[in-house]
Chain length 456, copies 2
């Protein structure tokens, strides 16, 4: 064997605690606000989330124990392998060394179960019998479906209608794992019926689906709502990725110069990045890069503001980079990145200058994804392709500069359910979607009159 | 943590040699025969396969080194994890302990690349620039597409037309890995044109596709043919599964009482089973069970005979259990198990009483697959569901008998590309397919007049 290309961790080396970056922020985050503009407290969230997760949401403890039962299930596919992408390096003729965490090894094929398992567990521990959620393309819905099944509680998923009709496979996956999945807007909630009455032919949106799932949760017995990204506790559950990666890199004596993740709501990015952002807070010299679609440029073109997480403004106001809660993203294939806002924690560390952001168009993403599949074997998800595209840029720059830098990226999921997008790429049917200034301005106007975070 | 449920191997523990069961057979296999009824020699196979693989095909060396470059690529997903299926055991309330090898971790999602990588390597080493093959549902075609891409040679796949039209995703996977994939029968071979002229609306068959791929190989420059199952060297390349499993079980001090794999052409079954069959040859007390579809009962209802591997009788005559080379299997969803023959080595060890066989109907298979997905998380491929169904039978029997037996099975691939079959199962649209005696008799008649293996 010429060289080790994969680093395992044994079970006894698996992290036993999540990392909570709220303990280490140089400045605390602004609080979420209620509709009256006043900070909300734990009790305000109680109809929507169980108290044990609300406590995690506001905790400033640095380390929080992962329950044994959650670890037992995570161990089904974790620790996820860390790879060196040797053949890719050769194909790019770069002096950079490229490492990646493969989160595609979970049963639904992405990082999403890292928090889905935890959320299903805490809800069940709190006596909750049923979770509701929304899903776009279905990565999150399928992860929660599996997790609820394994934890023995019920699951109902409101799936954006256009995906429900056009992408049936994730829906079948949810059914296989015992969840109920309906197209949103549905006739099963008040908000759904209202939308259907006004626009019977609507393709639906994540914003509408969130509203339906929350309404269902607060009006049904023993039911709570579960969100797959954006919230603080979700970011924290995902840090197991970065904590494993640090241990794996230590094993081979490697330190990254650049850490890369794609960012939609922010969870897979934060999961890999936050333990490294902690290094940066402690004085280490490295870059941390969040990559988003140029068609949905939350971090690179949207203001840091208070905005709602859904169209119907049922969520509290969160301090975050937001394109405006009425923003309708162009139809790019990376469904998991089509969200108007960004996790408050990710937004905050960008504000603090601890991370940087880049926006990339989708054709460049697929170019890099095909190169990846043809050298590393694994086929990236459209979302993950944004991280691979940024990695290719970094590796090419390293070649031009003759620098031997170490790149670490989060390979957040496989694209086996997204092959139609590859087919379109090969047929030349994919195009890039610019976001015209006037469209952005209209969407941003939906935030007019909302409070502004202090210091902005 | 209550108990370890997954056993890793480190890179330095990965097997460095394949196991060749031909070295240990109590009786040698009958030789393959040419059309004249005489044994064929290596030179007869040279237009179809490269000499280095032909040498492996006839070798009786017990251990054959795995080339470093093959190991490097296999290490991308190997050693595959060995799991204990604790939640499944609980759901079945069985005293049996259930262990499984997860071969779904490879990029195309099955065990197939274990031999595809090796075959692409040996062909390239022999100066071959291009491989042809056939594929049914696409598991094998996609594995060879990836392997040829990684080894830097071209790949052309003849895909059975009905699958090409109805199951487009594996075709897209092949394209992503740079292979050319055409529907068979095609207008690109003489045999294809002949079939199209006679039956323009034919759905195609594996037999026709094999004939086209071989014709292409023997008539094109620097081109050879590659087969994903049946042949001796294919079985040998797959033994890395069983060799890893033995090391993993040794680590935790466990010995299996029953070893289970599904069997179509025989390769995933042989891959897990043959190292354990060796134990049995050496006097150890264990059962080894091959599971096939009741709709295509090669091992349980077909004679041991000399038959051809394809409809057009372009292959040599192989000593094997065969339903007759004209057999057209019912439309069960486990496309990988719809083959009229069985690997000569698997057939031979059944003849010698070293293994046993069972045939199971598909609805029972999906029942077990859904139970599996809902306890272990991973969704089994329809082929793999035959192994899980047999496992459930064994576990239930253990409960009835109060026996603490250890079951080991080959979880040969995931079903993420096969969710339509699950949907049909849930909708009650799947039915079992019996094989009427008269249909079987007609098909067996196609072997009339062919030689019979000695001693039969």
């Amino acid at each position: 064997m010429t060289e080790q290309i994969k680093v395992f961790l044994n079970e006894d080396e698996m992290p036993r605690q999540w990392y909570n970056i709220q303990a280490d922020l140089p400045e605390p985050m602004p609080p979420p606000l209620g509709k009256d503009g006043n900070p909300i407290g734990p009790d305000d969230l109680a109809p929507v989330f169980p108290m044990n997760l609300i406590e995690q949401e506001v905790s400033t403890e640095r380390w929080i124990d992962i329950p044994d039962e959650v670890l037992q299930i995570l161990f089904q596919w974790r620790p996820s392998p860390l790879y060196r992408a040797r053949r890719l390096e050769q194909a790019l003729d770069t002096p950079a060394r490229i490492y990646y965490k493969n989160e595609g090894v979970s049963p639904p094929g992405s990082h999403k179960p890292n928090t889905a398992i935890a959320q299903a567990y805490y809800n069940r521990e709190a006596g909750i019998k049923r979770l509701t959620t929304e899903t776009g393309a279905g990565q999150w819905g399928s992860a929660l479906a599996m997790s609820c099944q394994l934890m023995g509680i019920d699951c109902k998923v409101y799936m954006v209608r256009v995906s429900f009709d056009q992408k049936p496979f994730r829906k079948m996956m949810m059914r296989t794992w015992g969840a109920e999945c309906v197209a949103s807007p549905s006739d099963q909630t008040e908000i759904g019926r209202k939308v259907l009455a006004e626009t019977p032919d609507t393709p639906g949106s994540l914003g509408i689906a969130i509203s339906e799932a929350i309404e269902d949760a607060v009006t049904s017995e023993n039911t709570r709502y579960s969100l797959g990204s954006v919230l603080n506790h979700v970011m924290m559950h995902q840090t197991i990725i970065g904590l494993e990666a640090k241990k794996q890199l230590e094993k081979i004596g490697v330190e990254p110069d650049v850490v890369i993740g794609c960012a939609g709501g922010g969870s897979n990015f934060a999961g890999l990045a936050f333990p490294f952002v902690n290094d940066k807070i402690n004085g280490k010299d490295l870059r941390v890069l969040a990559v988003e679609p140029a068609a949905c440029p939350t971090l690179t073109r949207a203001p840091y503001a208070y905005d709602s997480g859904d169209v119907a403004m049922m969520t509290p106001l969160l301090p975050m980079h937001s394109l405006g809660h009425t923003f309708v993203p162009p139809p790019i294939h990376a469904g998991g990145l089509r969200y108007h806002g960004m996790a408050p924690l990710v937004s905050h560390v960008l504000q603090l200058g601890l991370i940087e952001a880049a926006a990339i168009h989708q054709v460049e993403c697929y170019e890099s994804a095909v190169l990846w599949a043809r050298t590393e074997g694994f086929i990236p998800a459209p979302e993950t392709a944004h991280a691979t595209a940024a990695m290719v840029r970094e590796a090419r720059q390293a070649r031009e500069e003759g620098k031997e830098k170490v790149i670490l990226l989060n390979w957040s999921g496989h694209g086996l359910m997204d092959l139609v997008a590859y087919e379109k790429y090969f047929d030349g049917e994919l195009s890039d979607h610019d976001l015209p200034e006037e469209v952005l301005a209209r969407s941003l106007a939906s935030m007019d009159g909302l409070p502004v975070p202090a210091g902005v």
